[in-house]
Structures are given as C-alpha cells and as structure tokens.
C-alpha cells in the first residue's frame, strides 16, 4: 500500500508514492536523494536527522513521510548554496566545531533553531539547547564556541 505525497524540500517540490510507515528521514535521503541528513540511531536520541519542518526544527526520524506531505522541509543542503556559507556553517568551520562531521548537519540545524529562539545565548544556554544532539568526537566545546560565534555574526549581542 503506497500513498502519494508531495513535500517541498529546500524549495523544490518532491513527489512520490511511499509506504505509510516510511520515515521522513528516509524520504529525504532515498526519494529526494539528499544525504546530508543522517540517520544515527533508531530511538530518536541522536539528532543527526534534524531538519526544519515548516520552519520548526524536527527530528526527521520521528515523522512519517505521509505526515509531512504538503509541508515544506529545509535540510542542511538548503541553508546555503554550499559556496556562500550560512553563518553557522562558517562558524563551525572557523571554530573546529566538527571532526568526523557525521553529527554536524543535525547539529547546525538544531543550532539554527536555537538561535532563532534565543539570538544571543550564553554558553550554558547553548549547551542546554543542544542536549538533544549527540556528538562523539568534539566533546561539544568547539560546537558551543561555534554557535556563540555564529550568534554574534547573525546580529545577536
């Protein structure tokens, strides 16, 4: 049993016939071919699959594709053209906020949401804001610095 869906991903309409049980993260990766969004767990714990769903951050492994039909999704590939970087991308680069890079797309998407809600967070607030995203490489410290830096670049105090 498949269901027709249409989801706007990074401004582009993506249509398909999918199983009802398909997770949005799999639609993004398999159907839309956007593999920047990662699957790091199967219990909604790691945050590597974080995207924006209708402007709000969501773990794409917790949403069914059919639930997202008609919605608009932004993934890591959609926050910049890959050349002119988003301030968060630039800040992760400048602050060595990544090592293996596997958590990074989700981390950047989560940080983006954090800064929208709190444009000038303290380090403490950044740490709390990112507790739903696991990084095994960096010990988080440079991620916190990156987000702090991006906040400044994005006009927070």
């Amino acid at each position: 049993m498949t269901v027709p869906v249409e989801i706007t991903i990074n401004g582009k309409a993506c249509a398909g016939d999918v199983e009802e049980r398909q997770l949005l993260v799999h639609f993004i990766r398999e159907n839309a071919g956007l593999t920047g969004t990662k699957v790091g767990c199967d219990t909604s714990q790691c945050g590597t699959c974080t995207v924006q769903l209708d402007g709000v951050s969501a773990k794409a492994c917790t949403v069914l594709t059919v639930q997202a039909s008609g919605s608009s999704v932004t993934t890591i590939e959609g926050i910049s053209d890959g050349v002119d970087l988003h301030p968060l991308q630039e800040a992760f680069w400048n602050n060595h906020g990544l090592q293996c890079g596997f958590c990074t797309p989700g981390m950047i998407m989560a940080a983006n949401e954090l800064l929208r809600n709190n444009p000038s967070p303290t380090r403490e607030e950044i740490r709390h804001g990112l507790e739903g995203n696991i990084c095994r490489c960096t010990g988080y410290q440079n991620i916190v610095s990156a987000v702090e830096d991006a906040a400044k670049a994005m006009g927070g105090r």
């Binding site: 199983e19 049980r21 398909q22 990766r29 071919g33 956007l34 593999t35 920047g36 969004t37 990662k38 699957v39 790091g40 767990c41 199967d42 219990t43 714990q45 790691c46 590597t48 993934t75 890591i76 590939e77 910049s80 890959g82 970087l85 991308q89 992760f92 680069w93 400048n94 060595h96 990544l98 090592q99 293996c100 890079g101 596997f102 958590c103 990074t104 797309p105 950047i108 380090r123 950044i126 740490r127 709390h128 990112l130 507790e131 995203n133 696991i134 990084c135 095994r136 490489c137 960096t138 010990g139 988080y140 410290q141 440079n142 991620i143 916190v144």
Partner: protein, 784 residues
C-alpha cells in the same frame, strides 16, 4: 610565509563538504540496481541451533535471496584473529560469518535476507524460523574463567583464550619488604564506542572481471582488503576497498566483521551491488565493545610513599569470539604500560583473556592503556591516602626524571622522551592546585563534598616498529607509506595508505608538505581511503597516523627536495652542494637572485627538456616509513567535582588538561582531539557502561539506556600543552588521539573518591552513577 603554515591552527580543508551536507559516507553512496541486506540475529546469548527454516522468508515481497550458515559454510572462510600473542597458549576457535551450529552472543548472525528495499529485507526476517536450544550463559569475565562455568567453545576449557604473564624485577620480594601495601579490585565495564555513523558495507562484484569493490566504514582499508581476501577467497589484487567519509570509529571500525563478509558474499552470489547498514540497536549488539576488565591490583610502597612494586591479575572479557586485534589489547597495549610515568622497579601481572557471552571486545579509544592508567592512578591515590600525603606530591616523588633519549622501564620497553614533572607542574599551576585544596578545606568545613583528582599518564603510541609487531604476534606490519606527486603547474597530490576519519589529516598532512617544501598549503591535496589509488598502509588507530604516516610524508618530501636541489643545480649551472634551499626556493649560495622555485622545478622535471645526465623525469617520491620505536606522549590532568551527598549527584566543575604530544603540526586540531578524548574518558567514569543481564541480554541496548555524554553535562575543558619532541621522529611528533581518554577516567574517578573520603566511602565501581554513589554514602553512614 607559507612554511609557517606548519605549526599553525589553520582551519580544516575537509570541513566545507562536511558542513554543507555534501560529503558521502558509505550509506550515502547509491549504485544503480543495489539490493539491501538485513541480517537475522540471535536473540539468545548462548544456544545450539537445532534448525533454521528460511523458506518462509523467500516468498516475501521484494525478497531476492535468503542465505543461512549452510550456504556460507565452506564458501566463506572464518573471520581471522590477527593478533596471535606468543607464549600465551592462545586458542583461536572458529568464527564463522554466519553461525550454523551455535550462537555465542545476542546478535550473532544466523541468516541474511536480500531484498529490493531495506524495509522489505527487515520485514522478511520475521519469517525465518530458527529452532534454538538455549544454553547456560556467563557474562562476567572472572566468572567465565572458573571451573564449571558454561563453556562457549568446545576446545577452550574455562573459556580461557589466553594467559599472558609479565614479570620485571622481583615483585614478591618487593611486597614482602613493603612498609605499605594497598589493593583494590577495579571493574572497567564494557563500553560501546558509539561512532555517530553506524557501520555500513556496500559490495559490488563483477563476475566478468572477477573484481570485488567494497565501500566500507573502516579505519584501515588496506587491512580490510587483506582480510576480505582471506575470508572470501577473492585474490587481494582483485579487491578494492574504499573507505569514503567515515563518521568516527574510536577503534570499533578497525576489525573486519561478519557483516562485511556476508554483504560481499551476497553480491558475489547475486551479481549485483548489495548494501548493508546497521541500525544503532544492531550496533550496540554486534559492533566491538571496549574494556570489560576485572583488575585485582596491589601496590607496594615505602612509608614515605615511594612505590616499590605492582602486582595485577586481570580478567579481560573477549566476548563470544576473538575479534581482529582483541588479544593484543589487554596484553601488549596494557601490561607493558604498567610502569606508567613512574619508577616502579618490580612489576608483575597476569592477564586472562576470557570468552564470555557478549559482543566481541576489541580496541576502543586508548585500547589497553586506559585500563592500565586507571589501575595505576587508583593505586597511587590509595598509596597517598595510606601514607597521609598529598596525591600530587606522591606522584611527583615517583615520576621518572626528565629524559630526552630513551628510558627503560621494568616491563621491558623503552620510552622515547619524557618530562613528566613539568607536565604535572604545568597542570597543577593551570588548575591553581594549592588554592583548590584550600577551597576544598573550606568546603569541607561547610559540610560540602568537594573533590580534586589528579593523574599523570604516559601512553604507547605511534604503533610501531614492524619488527616489534611481528615479535608480539601482530599479523601485519606497522609501517606507513606515502607518495608525493608534483604536477607541471606546481600543485601536488599526497597519497597515503592510512585513512583518517575525523582526525583532520587531510589538513595536517598538507601542512607537513607545505612546511617541508615551501608550497602553499592549498596547492597540496591529500588522497586517502581507496586501496586502488593509495599505497599500502596499516590504518588509523593507536594515535599513529600523524606520527607514522606523517613521517612517511616527511621522508618523501625530503626526497623531493633533494631531487629538486639536483635539478636546480643543473638548471642554474652550479654544483648541487652550492645550492641553498629556503622557503620553496633553490638558489646559488651568495646569489639569491639566481634561483628556481619548487614550481619551476616541478614544471621542468615534468616536461623533462633539460635533465641532468641519468636523472629520471617527473617530480615524485615515495617513502615507506617503519618507525624505530613507539612514541610516548604524556601529560597530567586535574578534575574538580562536587558531590551532593543527599542524591549522589556529581557535578564536574572543572577539568584541566596538560598534554605533551611532542611537536604540534596544527594546535587547533590537537586541542580538538583533547576535548573529545577527555569527554570520552569522563563518560565511563560517570555515566557509561554496557550492562548485560544474567541471561546475556544487553540491558543498555539503545541511546536511551546507555548514557552518552551530552553537551549540558560538561564544563569547558581547560587545555594547554607542553612540547617534548620525540627524539626518533623526523618531525618530533608523537600523537594525541587517545591521550584525553587515557587520562580522564582516573582523574575524574579520583576526584570523586577524594570528595567522598570524609564520608568514609573508600570505593565505588564505575560508572559513578548517582544511585551507586548514594548507596555507598548511605552504607558508609550506616557503618557498612
């Protein structure tokens, strides 16, 4: 100028593709016509397989094939153990890729389904009927070694895979004469490595050419090719292993797994590409874990706290089978480091490697050295308490004095260089140690439980001389190789056999070449991870990539420089000995205007219009570097904690690290390694530990139950460094990947014990969860 790039914290060139989501990890790679594999895993920790009926799965939607142990038996060879430590009565029982007769841990592979989609493959697993006869289970490595314990492998009595012993000096006499002896049993639970990228394999067999291509989440593609050859029988030169982007490994992506073999088998059977990617839940069950030690330790000392002896008996869990490097971890990488940074004249130890019903155990960040450092640092603190002296002072009086070129320790190895006291001093002063002790006294007076933990460490890294590898039974070499190739436009590629996966060597290796040859760092591109396009190498682990591959690159760059000098001399019509080199320019001594840049040389060597008699065209050099010794990075760390005695909650308030990894190529990357390493060692001290119940079921089977460090649980780590160059390394570098993990577990553990001492608590098993700490406090209060 460009050469100053060496030693500076330039940002990483691998990052643009990673921060934009444009990098390709194994599971991101799509080949047309790929089928998907899902593996049926044993729900029992120990059982005989009476029958497997896969017929029900065959007709399920999308299913293309189903294979069991009957199909792979005799086609796939068993998975080899590749570290055959000598003199240990090592047993290496068969490890079939798919179990046919018996399963030995929850997760052991029993069958595989190949289907058009991953969902379909997973669905079909439910339709395979397996008749198991459950057997008794044993989880604790010590219990497994006792008479009467359930036996995992027929030919391995008491489950003892090996017994390894170490003796230096006269330990019995040291203990007989000791004024002070202390002892404890230290349990290091199993740890789950948790690279954020799950393991994955994509196999593509071409029957026409007889070639197998395997994309794989591996830390060592060349070893993976070698073992793929052993297991599948495909000749080594017909196998191409590609480690694309790899999302962390921490040791768990060193071994060659059944899953890769099964995926290759399926592709070879079906003639189409087949992909397998583990779920995180599978990762927890099947991917190799770390530690699993029960260490019975004693230390002897004088009444003044001078250490005179160390004695250990260690039970090291191996899991259901011996993983690729498993036997070397609790022995060579562990016991040989029993002296740590201290003068300990008499050392003896016995290590039992024991099969138990859990996932196989193998190298995990630090691999053997955290287990050694933990027991040493715990003992030193107990000695300090016994003689009533400050733990930092007891360390100081036992540290090996500064040495620049070789120091022998009682375990029979020779450290390269060390200045342990400076590291300790730097760390104590960075932490404000005296003030901390004063604040602690004040806090204690107020009834607060504040603790300060100190540890000193030295690790064995830069693995290692191949001759030593052979002598200790490692079934491979430990050298590295590099090719540097200059093109006519003066740009260069560096091809290396080792393959970093987060450590940033695409950047640091380019910095080495820039530093050696005066080229712009952006004119150097590093190529790694593909056995078809890189020279042979043994992989990224043991903090060896920058040390060993970096040395190979340095040697190759120096060969380029010598050829360039000779060609410059010819072009400038001067004698080679009259050519000076500075910052990318070769000039005639005394007339710097008469010069050729390295770019001029690259062009002239490649067009070869005017070469000196007998000189080959091209500007390319390769080097094979086998280090003359290991490297021995070291340092000292301090942690400050406060424990809430009412709840057992621990607040890690400060963490101060001073590490000495020799010369640093990119300090920003070094610091990042320390941050990540420290946090990975704090984890097991406070939160992490894989728990199996008595039936061998993994209780901590997901990220919900296995407590990984999260951003909000940690303070900023205060990092600084000293630099004592390695005397034998062409650049003086040592390695930093594992340092933090080795030091931080005992540092934090000691801090908590220091906090609890006034309450009468003397020991708590790791991880120091609030519940355990609270119970220990309560027991102590109740006179327990």
């Amino acid at each position: 100028m460009t050469t100053r790039i060496f030693g500076s914290g330039i940002r990483r060139r691998e990052d643009p593709r990673l921060i934009t989501g444009r990098a390709s990890y194994t599971d991101d790679i799509k080949l047309p016509g790929t089928l998907h594999a899902a593996i049926l895993r044993s729900p029992y920790a120990h059982a005989n397989i009476k029958a497997v009926d896969a017929s029900g799965a065959a007709g399920q939607p999308g299913v293309v094939a189903v294979y069991t142990g009957e199909d792979t038996d005799g086609v796939l060879n068993g998975l080899p153990c590749a570290w055959l430590i000598p003199g240990s009565d090592l047993k290496t029982p068969a490890h079939p890729a798919i179990a046919k007769d018996k399963v030995r841990y929850v997760g052991d592979a029993v069958a595989v389904v190949v289907a058009e989609s991953r969902y379909q493959a997973e669905d079909a697993l439910e339709h395979i009927a397996v008749d198991y006869e459950p057997l008794d289970v044993v989880v604790s490595p010590k219990a497994a070694a006792q008479d009467g314990a359930p036996q995992l492998h027929e030919d391995v009595p008491n489950n003892i895979a090996f017994t390894w012993a170490l003796a230096g000096g006269d330990t019995d006499a040291a203990f007989a004469d000791a004024a002070v002896t202390v002892s404890d049993t230290i349990t290091l639970p199993r740890l789950i490595a948790n690279p954020m990228e799950p393991r994955s394999a994509l196999a593509q067999w071409s029957a026409a050419s007889g070639e197998l291509t395997l994309w794989n989440t591996t830390q060592n593609p060349h070893i993976a090719r070698f073992v793929t050859c052993v297991v599948t029988g495909v000749p080594e030169h017909k196998i191409r292993v590609i480690a694309p982007e790899v999302g962390g490994g921490f040791g768990s992506k060193i071994p060659f797994y059944a899953d890769e073999a099964i995926t290759a088998f399926c592709s070879m059977k079906l003639g189409v590409p087949v992909k397998w990617t583990e779920t995180r839940s599978e990762n927890y069950l099947i991917t190799t874990q770390g530690r699993d030690h029960i260490e019975e330790v004693e230390m002897a000392a004088t009444s003044d706290g001078v250490i005179t002896g160390l004695r250990t008996t260690v039970y090291a869990g191996m899991g259901g089978y011996l993983s690729t490097a498993a036997p070397g971890v609790p022995t060579i990488l562990h016991g040989l480091m029993y002296s740590g940074p201290y003068n300990i004249p008499n050392i003896s130890g016995t290590v039992y490697g024991v099969f138990n019903n859990g996932a196989p155990v193998d190298a995990y960040r630090g691999a053997g050295r955290p287990e050694a450092t933990m027991l040493l640092e715990r003992m030193v603190d107990l000695v300090a308490a016994a003689v009533g002296q400050d733990p930092a002072e007891v360390r100081r009086k036992n540290l090996i004095p500064k040495f620049e070129n070789g120091h022998d320790v009682a375990t029979g190895i020779t450290y390269d260089s060390g200045d342990y006291e400076s590291a300790l001093d730097s760390c104590l002063s960075a932490a404000g140690y005296e003030a901390l002790r004063a604040e602690q006294a004040q806090a204690r007076a107020e009834g607060r439980c504040v603790g300060v933990g100190v540890s000193s460490y030295v690790e064995i890294c830069g693995l290692g001389p191949s001759q030593v590898a052979g002598a200790v039974g490692f079934q491979g070499g430990l050298w590295e190789s590099a090719i540097i190739r200059f093109y006519p436009t003066g740009k260069a590629n560096v091809m290396v056999g080792s393959s970093p996966h987060g450590q940033g060597e695409e950047t640091t290796f380019a910095q080495i070449v820039a530093g050696e040859l005066g080229v712009d760092v952006d004119d150097v591109e590093v190529i790694h991870g593909d056995t078809d396009t890189t020279p042979m190498g043994w992989g990224t682990y043991g903090s060896r990539t920058t040390a060993v591959s970096g040395a190979a690159i340095t040697v190759a760059a120096r060969k380029i420089k010598e050829k360039s000098r000779a060609l410059a001399a010819h072009l400038l019509e001067a004698a080679p000995e009259d050519i000076e080199y500075e910052d990318g320019r070769f000039y005639v001594r005394g007339s710097p205007d008469q010069h050729k840049t390295i770019q001029d040389i690259a062009l002239m060597a490649n067009v070869a219009w005017n070469m000196p008699e007998g000189m080959e065209p091209g500007l390319e050099a390769s080097a094979f570097y086998d280090p003359p010794n290991f490297t021995y990075p070291f340092g000292a760390h301090v942690a400050v904690v406060e424990v809430d005695p009412e709840t057992g909650h621990i607040d890690l308030q400060r963490y101060v690290a001073v590490d000495d990894c020799g010369v640093q190529i990119n300090p920003m990357i070094v610091e990042g390694q320390v941050h990540g390493g420290v946090v990975q060692g704090v984890g097991p001290a406070l939160w992490e530990g894989a728990v199996y119940d008595d039936d061998g079921q993994l209780v901590t089977g997901s990220m919900l139950d296995y407590a990984l460090p999260r951003a909000d649980l940690l303070p900023d780590i205060e990092v600084s460094s000293n630099s004592t160059p390695s005397p034998h390394h062409p650049l003086g570098v040592k390695g930093i990947g594992e340092a933090g993990t080795i030091a931080s577990t005992p540092t934090v553990y000691n801090a908590v014990m220091d906090a609890l001492r006034p309450l009468g608590v003397t020991r708590v098993d790791m991880p120091l969860t609030p519940e355990k700490v609270w119970r220990a406090i309560n027991d102590a209060r109740n006179g327990g």
